[in-house]
């Protein structure tokens, strides 16, 4: 099925995108409301939570250019050294800008 991108069609497409996204926003919590949170389930979701971050970042680092890699490495080193997110992110962005300027 295809929808033509007339005004009405576009509104319909946006509505479909909105509902699809809502399902993802609500779905995890909705399913959890039927489970009893045992310590084992809690341990699962806590480990999963920080794994989400890693699962986003690793392919980003591998598929990106040298600047992307520099940004992540610099952010990581800065974060471990100074433990303050905003300066660490700023350092990461500067590293990317620098590498791309030189590259």
């Amino acid at each position: 099925m295809a929808i033509e991108t007339t005004t009405l069609g576009v509104l319909g497409l946006i509505a479909i995108m909105t509902l699809t996204t809502l399902v993802t926003r609500f779905g995890g919590v909705f399913i959890m409301s039927f489970l009893r949170i045992s310590p084992r389930i809690e341990s699962f979701i806590n480990t999963m939570a920080s794994s989400v971050l890693i699962a986003i970042i690793v392919p980003m680092a591998v598929s990106g250019d040298l600047g992307a890699l520099a940004a992540l490495v610099a952010t990581g080193v800065a974060m471990l050294a100074i433990r303050k997110p905003l300066p660490a992110i700023a350092i990461g962005l500067m590293a990317a800008a620098l590498v791309r300027y030189l590259g």
Binding site: T5, V58, G67
Partner: protein, 247 residues
Amino acid sequence: MNSYPYQFQARKVRAEFFRLLPISLFVVAFGAAFGLAAIQKGLSPLEALLMSTTVFAGASQFAAVDMWGTEVSVLPMMAVVFAINSRHLLMGASLYPMLKDVSPGRRYGLLLLLTDANWAVSAQEYQSGRRNLEVILGGGLVLWLAWILGTALGVYFGGLLQNPKAFGLDMVLGCFLFAMALGGKKSPRVLVAWFVAGAASLAAWKWLPPNMHVVVGALAGGVIGLFWLEPGTRDKQAAVEGDDHGH
């Protein structure tokens, strides 16, 4: 007894709004890039603004307008949007231990504002034993407004910057999420989970259909937590399982 004990503090919601204001400035730049892309693909300014307002999920919006033409195939578009946003399923689930303490109306209301940055702050603080749903509300609000504002700038004024990549702006979210991960609790168990998550995500990114790597990697990391409990929780788990079997 109040069955929904979580108390929202208006002051903390405001504080979280301003705490995520700096990162929201970068979101404005992303929004502008999206607005420009949407216009170039033939959406009208108001349509692009409406999409940013109601969908509020950047990566999936970029992917959707990429599929734009004189007509759009509905099922492939839904599949792409769902796959890219499926990480929300896991993000929402991870907040459930806190969300169960607010009424269902508020719970699902908060989830309207769930996005990577405010979730990352909340999830990281929860690991350190702090309960912070205010950042989902206050932080989500400022991120949402920034996304709409950025889209407006993009559709009406074109890209704010000729080449945002030259300033490293494409890496803001990546660096932010990485900083959040490193700021969280690090135990051998967490490090093993990260390694498994990273390897699984990379394998899925290479060999599975597009946009599945985040969920695959996150679930793989979660499995480590399922079988390797933090010392001390083992006894609690045994007690619960004992209950289940009626001992």
